[in-house]
Point group: C2
Chain length 222, copies 2
Amino acid sequence: MPPNDPTPSVRDSLLDEATRRFAAQGFGGTSLQVIADGVGIRKASLLYHFPSKDALRDAVLERLLARWNALLPGLLLAASEGGAPRRDRFARVMEALTSFFLEDADRARVLLREILDRPDAFRALLARHVRPWIVIVAEQLEAAKADGAVHEDADPEAYAVQVLHLVVGGIAVMDATSALLDAPPERARARFEVELMRIVRAAIFRPQERNTKKIRQAGVRR
Amino acid sequence: MPPNDPTPSVRDSLLDEATRRFAAQGFGGTSLQVIADGVGIRKASLLYHFPSKDALRDAVLERLLARWNALLPGLLLAASEGGAPRRDRFARVMEALTSFFLEDADRARVLLREILDRPDAFRALLARHVRPWIVIVAEQLEAAKADGAVHEDADPEAYAVQVLHLVVGGIAVMDATSALLDAPPERARARFEVELMRIVRAAIFRPQERNTKKIRQAGVRR
DNA sequence: CCTACCGATCGGTAGG
DNA sequence: CCTACCGATCGGTAGG
């Protein structure tokens, strides 16, 4: 799959359009007709590429998860890089996570809707694609309790799940919730991101001592 | 409206059933037929009580927000109770918030779906029913920075919005995400709740001093 | 709250 | 990838 194919296949266009529509109006609220119209083909032609509406949904999810999985090796490396301080490693994983969904908020919306629409079906998918990450992160945080970097009363596994939801769900509904802030949309969004990272960090790491090095003035600016 | 009417009106039954269906399959994924079937009347009869599907949705949301608003006076009182320590007041507000949605997770699901389905329409609603609360909480937290109870680099307004999402969204998808924890469902749910409260607290309040006047360890902030 | 009915649209098929 | 078409279901109306 060349990432920058100048002439995307009809199949890819259909997946793009379906993703947008499913994200915006949901699976039940989207008809095959509007997806076909959006790509400029007949509905019957859509059903040539995907034998049913369910098959189309599966393909949308499959592609989304494939892109997510493509990110994992790099993430795993960043997370377990022995040299870097724990906080930096953690920040790098968090940044990769957030940027994946900020890059295209429809990814977050499709996943969130899937959880709501088919919680049972999604459980299996979560167990396969997400659980391993929860375990790795939780182990690292649990180990970090020993040298006092992490709050002792934290439940690292539950914490990791909450953070995941905070990022994915937060980005999915960001357009609406950022209106709750007394600031223009652009600024609201920025404050949202900064505060998200602050919460995530403050909730797990204990305050750092200042004497050794005077680095770390908070905030992962990019 | 008597709260414990032994024979609920058809109208109420329709609202109950619609809420359940909208929460589970979404507005677009729910037909008037299944709602009518669920209550044991004809679809045409449903349309006698609610002139259109849109009107039914509006009524579902209206009732939900009315119940939410009924909670507010007590909440406001708990939040501004001058005598109690700030942390206790905060905890009381948080508990009222979470218990409202834990009492019936469909409330959280309907709201979350509404944000996804109609972000623009929901913005106005958020501004009216939720913004005032954000402002009050944010003001209290901002003031609390002065006596060192709250992290100075926190953005109280953005924090309050994130917490709101953490609670509402978290409860909406709890069934699916609790499967990510290595524990039986009941236990997973409990850990979820406990860790949620810990995160919310640790993210905003600075660690409490153990003996009254020992303020050294954090050093001079900023 | 019912029976009876409407046009429009739904997901999907036949056949090329 | 198209034209042509299907039965089923959609939200909604008429009239009682």
